[in-house]
């Protein structure tokens, strides 16, 4: 064996080794979700799930849907993640349109203030936000998880501003000569041009809001408005021994994200990379 193919072999071994590390916890989640309650506590743990062998692999997945509140939590998570992401698209693209074009003293001040809030971790604003939402009567509703996204997003605004800056000046001039309104230019030139950035922003916001735990836990305690992560946390507390059903639920909670990732990989990766490189 020459040194070239030897090094290729070593590289593949390294790649494979970490692939196992990456996949195993996810695989074990699925395997366990396909075990019966008896099989779960067998020692040593079996690698092949008995329900799969019995031809009924989805019993536990069906059982999750019978748990009170699971379906509601799925719907709540869908609603929160989708609306929050849409909110980000609207507010950040509108603000980006202004900040990319116009710089007077007031606009610059707003922009600088907005960007400087990125230095403050969310933990700082949590307690006052809680008080605000309590005052507004929004606690135990989905509003605290949705409404702020329609009003502010520092990273999204920065991203859209940078992206919009690269729109050629001449196109806008031509459109104005053709009698386009400012909003028409925003709608017909900026939004189509910004589509890749908007797609990334939507996906990042969707995933981040789907994954969010801290804010739901603090702002909502009633079962009707639980999101999926909350449902899972409560499940752990309530039926600690029903791991098979719990892990089936966990898998279902993460499945939409995996599907989005597989479907839109490039935008997801680019969006997250950009969100930190700024």
């Amino acid at each position: 064996m020459n040194s070239r193919s030897l090094s290729a072999l070593l590289i593949y071994l390294g790649l494979l080794a970490y692939a196992v590390v990456t996949l195993f916890p996810l695989l074990w989640m699925v395997i366990t979700a396909m075990k019966s309650g008896r099989e779960l506590f067998r020692l040593p743990p079996s690698l092949v799930p008995d329900l799969l062998m019995a031809g009924t692999p989805f019993v536990n997945f069906a059982a999750v849907f019978d748990k009170a509140g699971f379906l509601g939590a799925v719907l709540n998570s869908m609603l929160v993640a989708t609306l929050a992401a849409v909110g980000q698209l609207i507010t950040c693209s509108m603000a980006g349109f202004v900040f990319a074009n116009l710089r007077n003293r007031v606009f610059t001040a707003i922009y600088v203030l907005l960007l400087s809030t990125m230095f403050f971790p969310t933990e700082v604003t949590l307690i006052p936000e809680f008080l605000l939402f309590r005052q507004l009567g929004w606690l135990d509703t989905l509003l605290p998880l949705i409404v702020p996204s329609f009003f502010v997003g520092a990273f999204g605004t920065l991203m859209m501003t940078e992206f919009f800056k690269s729109i050629p000046f001449e196109i806008e001039e031509a459109a104005i000569l053709d009698g386009a309104s400012p909003f028409g230019i925003f709608k017909d030139i900026y939004l189509p041009f910004g589509a890749p950035a908007l797609a990334s922003l939507f996906l990042v916001a969707f995933i981040a809001n789907w994954d969010e735990v801290l804010r739901p836990v603090i702002f909502n305690s009633s079962p009707e408005v639980r999101t999926l992560p909350q449902f899972l946390l409560d499940f752990v507390g309530q039926y600690e021994s029903q791991w098979t059903v719990l892990l089936a639920g966990s898998f279902l909670a993460t499945l939409p994200l995996i599907m989005i990732y597989i479907g839109c990989q490039k935008w997801v990766v680019a969006g997250f990379a950009r969100s930190s490189l700024k």
Binding site: L26, P44, M94, L113, F120, T125, V213, L214, P229
Partner: protein, 290 residues
């Protein structure tokens, strides 16, 4: 101001209205309020009482406050090097351009986008002392007695950190890959022609060229470790006996479990100083280079 700008100005105020309202209501007001609350003693129901720097003193010197800070430091000591080194190594492996590499790159990033609570629960079952697969593996290898991964105070914090390393490594790999793209390939080709081996190339060309990105990844990883929350609430609830309570989790606990709003606010400002300090450091060093 040119014609285009004058044209756009007609709707500009409407376009940034939501953003301005949001900035004031959901960012500036809460930041200011949190700063004021941090100087009070307040259980959220009664009237806040001004106590000066008491909360900060408590956060920085009380036994529990110190424990939280030490835990945060210890967590970072596990998380930051592991995540950085793994992310860097994976980036190097993936960057070789060998056949099938796209598949591996896609796979490595996958944990980063999974729902944290869901995968943490899966890890919790793997960590189970009696029936967990990890201890089964250890006993199969005759390596050690069962380890109480989440209930042994000396291990719990490390277990939480390991789960987050598993989850975040792919993300750091992507950052390193972005850094690798910026390296001048002719340098590497020239070194190869001069007979340099892979190890020498990594040591003498890639590592020095990648230093700014490495520094950046380390800072991001440090910030992330100070903010850890999701994995902690899913795996240990900060236990046993606060052994895995780090700053991010302590803020939640003090505010919304113990209702000590002043202390929690003070701790959130300590966190803010850590995050801000790290960001500022990065900014300064970037400026100096430019």
């Amino acid at each position: 101001m040119n014609a285009v700008q004058r044209h756009h100005l007609r709707i500009a105020w409407w376009m940034i209205l939501p953003c301005t309202i949001g900035l004031v209501c959901f960012r500036l007001f809460p930041i200011l309020a949190s700063f004021l609350i941090s100087f009070t003693d307040w259980n959220i129901i009664g009237v806040p009482e001004f106590v000066g720097l008491n909360n900060y003193i408590q956060a920085l010197t009380s036994p529990l406050g110190v424990k939280v800070l030490l835990n945060t430091f210890q967590y970072a000591l596990v998380y930051v090097p592991l995540a950085t080194i793994l992310g860097f190594s994976l980036a190097l492996l993936v960057d070789t351009g060998i056949k099938g590499v796209v598949f591996f790159r896609t796979l490595y990033f996958l944990p980063f986008i999974t729902a944290t609570v869901a995968v943490a629960i899966s890890w919790k079952w793997m960590f189970a002392t009696r029936f967990g697969i990890l201890n089964a593996f250890l006993s199969w290898l005759h390596l050690s007695d069962p380890i109480a991964w989440l209930s042994n105070p000396n291990v719990a914090l490390i277990s939480v950190a390991v789960v987050m390393v598993w989850k975040d490594t792919g993300f750091y790999m992507v950052l390193f890959l972005a850094g690798l793209q910026t390296i001048d390939r002719t340098l590497i080709e020239a070194a190869k022609l001069d007979g340099a081996n892979r190890f020498a190339i990594v040591r003498d060309i890639i590592l020095p060229q990648l230093a700014p990105m490495t520094f950046f990844v380390v800072l991001i990883a440090m910030i992330n470790s100070a903010k850890t929350f999701e994995a902690t609430i899913s795996l240990t609830n900060g236990g046993p006996n606060n052994a895995s309570t780090t700053l991010g989790y302590a803020i939640y606990q003090n505010a919304f479990v113990h209702f000590d709003m002043g202390l929690a606010s003070a701790q959130s400002w300590v966190l803010c100083l850590i995050v801000g300090g790290i960001s500022l450091l990065h900014y300064r060093l970037q400026q100096r280079k430019a």
